[in-house]
Each structure stands twice: as C-alpha cells, then as structure tokens.
Amino acid sequence: MKRTVPLFITGLVGALLIVSYYVPHPPFDSVERKIPDYFNIIAAFAFILGGGNLLRIHLTRISRRDHEWLYSVVTVTGFLVMLVLGLLKMTGAEGSAFGVQANLDLADARLLYDWLYRAIFVPCQATMFSLLAFFVASASYRAFRAKTPEATVLLLAAFVILVGRTPVGHLITAWMPEPFSDYFHIPNLSAWLMSFPNTAGQRTIQIGIALGIISNSLRLILGVERSHLGGSD
C-alpha cells in the first residue's frame, strides 16, 4: 500500500497533465493552469525540508566531532544568522535587527542582513568564482596540446574563441580585404563557430536530453521507474 498509492498518484497526475496539454478545453485547461501553483507551493516547502536536512546533517557532525566539524559550526551559524535576520527583515522596522539599531558605519546598507550579504556573502562567492580564472589558465596550458588531429581541432577552436572574445581579435585581422574578412576575420570566425558547429552540437545534446526526459517520464508514469519512492527498487 505504501508503494501502490504513490505510484497510482504519480501515474494519474502524469497522465492528466499529458491529456491537459493536448486537450485545451474544460475541465483539462484549468488543470494545466492550476498544477504549476501546486508545484510552487511544494517548492516553497522544499526550502523548509532543505533547511531541516542541512541542520540535521551538520548538527550530527558537530555532536560527533567528525572530521572538520568546525566547518559545520560555520555553516550552521551562517544559516541561522541569515535565517533569523531575513525573517526579522521581513517583519521588523527598517534599520533594526533583533530590535537593536544597526549603528555600524555602513555606507549603503541599512540593515545588518544587507550588510552581511554585501560584506561576507558577495566577497566569498566572488572569490570562489574568481579562482576559476587561475585554474582555467593552468588547465589550458596543460590540456590544449596538439597531440592528435582531434586535439588540434579543439586547440584551434579554443584559440579562435579566446581571441575572438576580445577586441584584439578584431584588431589583428581588421586589415583583411573582403571577401576574406567575411570568413577569416577572427570575430566572424568566432561567431561562425558559435552559430554553426556549436549550435549543431548543442541541438544534438538537447534532443538527446529531451528524448531521455520523455523516456524517463513514461517510466515514472507507468510505474517502471520507482527510485523516487526511495528504497532499492
């Protein structure tokens, strides 16, 4: 019963949504309008579930003094502080948090929440993302070697895109006369690579993904796929 009822609900709702898409008449048209509302409500509850799960995992790690448990302390503290301030921000008066005036010398942040967002969250995220530049440079140096014909094609494409995404690409081939510039001017070459080989590749991937989604959806509706119910089968 614990598995049959959820399977029945999944199959029924899935089939109903397919019918409502192809039959845009009452009562099916309202189904297509209303179901996304339920999705949104469930998505809101997923935040509570996610928050609860995060607390459960990290509090367990702290209580057991697991490996690198101090990071969990930082995670839990950050989560709770932002949660409480965010809730107070929604209901509290401007410029106060916990009923205490945020009297720090903050040029453009009137609330502690905004200040924490701008002074901690923004620099931390920016730092993490900026580090990519160093790793991309290092990886490019090691990976872009013309070892095989395929690797050479990749190398040439990378070269065109890297230079084509800068004003230098425009400058170094600006002297080219027409009709050569239509094909070999680096920004045009870069745009061609993005518009044709890239589009062809992306479309192939997207069509593959779409077929995979259709197949998986049918498996879910027909009850063949049961992993979403938990357990091993």
Binding site: N40, A137, S138, P167
Partner: protein, 293 residues
C-alpha cells in the same frame, strides 16, 4: 635545449597563477575602457528595446548571484538605463533567491543616480523574489497577480504593498501582457526557462544576457528565432554598453563598467593564449627529440 623545454613543459602552475594575477591586476588599476565593436547578436537585443514604443512594458529578471555579478550586473544596468531613458515601464523581478539584493543595488546605481524623476509604481516596480523556478514562470502565463500579490518595495518611501494598488500593474494579467522579457542569468532557471515557459507559449519576445560559459547553450534558441538577441559574457555586456553610449551619450560616464573590465579580460586571454603556444612549442620540441632518439 631539450632540458629547457622539458622544464617549460612541466612549468609549475604557480608561475601561471602569478602571470594571470599580474595580467588582471595591472589593467584593473589602469581602468581603461577597451574598444568593443558590437556584434549582430547584441545589436539585435539593443534594437528590440529601441523599437519599443514609449510606455511599453519590459520585464527584467535578474536570475543570478553575486558570483557572476561582475559579468551580469553591467548587462542589467545597461538594459535598465536603456529602458528608462526610452520611458519604458520596467518590471524588476528575480527567480533566484540571491537576486533581491542585486535588484536593490540596480535601483540605487541606476534609478536613484540617473533617473531620480522616475516614480516608483508608475515607471518601475520591484516585484522581488518568488520561489518556484520554471513552475513560477509557467504560472505567470495564466495569472500574474495571483503569484505576485504584493511587490517587494524599495526603501522607506516605497514599502511593500498589494500589486492591486500599483498603477503600472493594472494592465498586467499574465506575463503575455509584457512587450519584452529580458532575462539576465547565469544558470538554471534562467534565460532558457524564460524562453521555454514564457516566451514560446505567449509569443512575447525574450532577450537575454548570460555568462560566457552559458552563452553557447543558448545559440540554438537565437538561431531558431526564439531569442531576441543575447549578451554573452562580459564582452556581450561591453557591446551593449558601447551601443548605449553611442546612441545615448549622456551615459558615456556611467555605462563603462563592462568596457573597463574588458581590458583585464583581454590581457588575461592573451596571456592564456601565450601559455598555450609555449606549451605546444615545448610539446613539439620534446616529441621531435624523442623521435630522434
């Protein structure tokens, strides 16, 4: 000679890190805007905004977080400046939880600084963040105000209030009542979801701006005519700024962020290209030496 190239081939990556750091820091200090000729894909988006009659409704969705703000913020700000200078109605929203402070930042840097005469609720509105991802976008095609029962407000003067009391929300029943949707994003949900769940079902044109890594994924939508122009990465933002400053010289001082940041990006790209060339020279010299042996 071979020893030299062997050492070069196995160059300690900290040297690469050092070169990249220097190549970014020095141009950042110099603060010089790079000359950027606009590409057709960005010009399409600019022309789409330019073609809208006064009073048209533009939804600007800021679907990104602080990590990609250096790439995405100049896009949002250039589009907002363009829309407001053409007296278009600007509806600001976000489907990313990290988005609301970015909207506040945009309001401070663009509206407060450049358009103090614009009235909240009549010329622009901050609808804030709503949960639901693509489910939310789909809901907007049938009932906009059912999802956005209240706005997010802005500052002390404009506290949150029901959308039924906001004049510029009167004609909005569904997202189909917008004249143009512009999504600035850096992942999922983002531009692709706005195309799939709002643009295609309602027929409202969708334009976008995304990070450089995401831009290749969206070219199929642009080539199929489902996307009304696209700003790809910092270069896309710089191209839009170049078009904006060319057509609206009053923004020649403000709309420079991406143009200035293009300079360090250009130098960094050239350094990477240089390292790739050095790496390949080293590779070929060593291979030749091995074959001789």
């Amino acid at each position: 000679m071979v020893t030299f190239f062997r050492k070069l081939g196995a160059l300690d990556r900290r040297w690469i890190f050092l070169f990249i750091a220097v190549s970014v820091i020095i141009p950042l200090i110099v603060q010089r805007p790079a000359p950027v000729p606009p590409s057709p894909i960005v010009r399409t988006l600019f022309d789409a905004v330019e073609a809208l009659p006064t009073g048209s409704r533009v939804m600007l969705s800021l679907d990104y977080g602080p990590s990609t703000a250096p790439e995405n913020d100049p896009m949002s700000m250039a589009v907002a400046r363009h829309c407001l200078s053409r007296d278009l109605k600007l509806y600001l929203l976000t489907i990313w939880a990290t988005g609301p402070p970015l909207i506040t930042n945009l309001l401070e840097e663009v509206v407060e600084a450049d358009f103090p005469e614009k009235i909240y609720g009549e010329d622009f509105v901050n609808l804030g963040y709503k949960v639901g991802n693509q489910g939310l976008i789909q809901s907007l095609t049938s009932d906009f105000k059912g999802q956005y029962t209240a706005d997010a407000g802005w500052g002390d003067e404009n506290p949150s209030r029901p959308t039924s009391q906001i004049p510029m929300m009167d004609p909005i029943r569904t997202v189909g009542d917008a004249d143009l949707i512009i999504a600035i994003g850096s992942g999922k949900p983002g531009v692709k979801e706005w195309v799939q769940f709002a643009g295609d079902p309602t027929g409202v044109p969708v334009g976008g701006g995304v990070t450089a890594v995401e831009a290749p994924l969206l070219y199929p939508y642009y080539n199929a005519g489902q996307l009304e122009g696209l700003m790809g990465g910092l270069l896309g933002a710089a191209e839009y700024e170049a078009l904006l400053t060319e057509n609206y010289p009053q923004f020649s001082e403000q709309a420079q962020e991406a143009l200035i940041r293009m300079f360090p990006q250009t130098v960094a790209h050239l350094v990477i290209v240089l390292f790739v060339i050095i790496g390949n020279i080293s590779f070929f010299v060593l291979r030749r030496a091995e074959r001789k042996r």
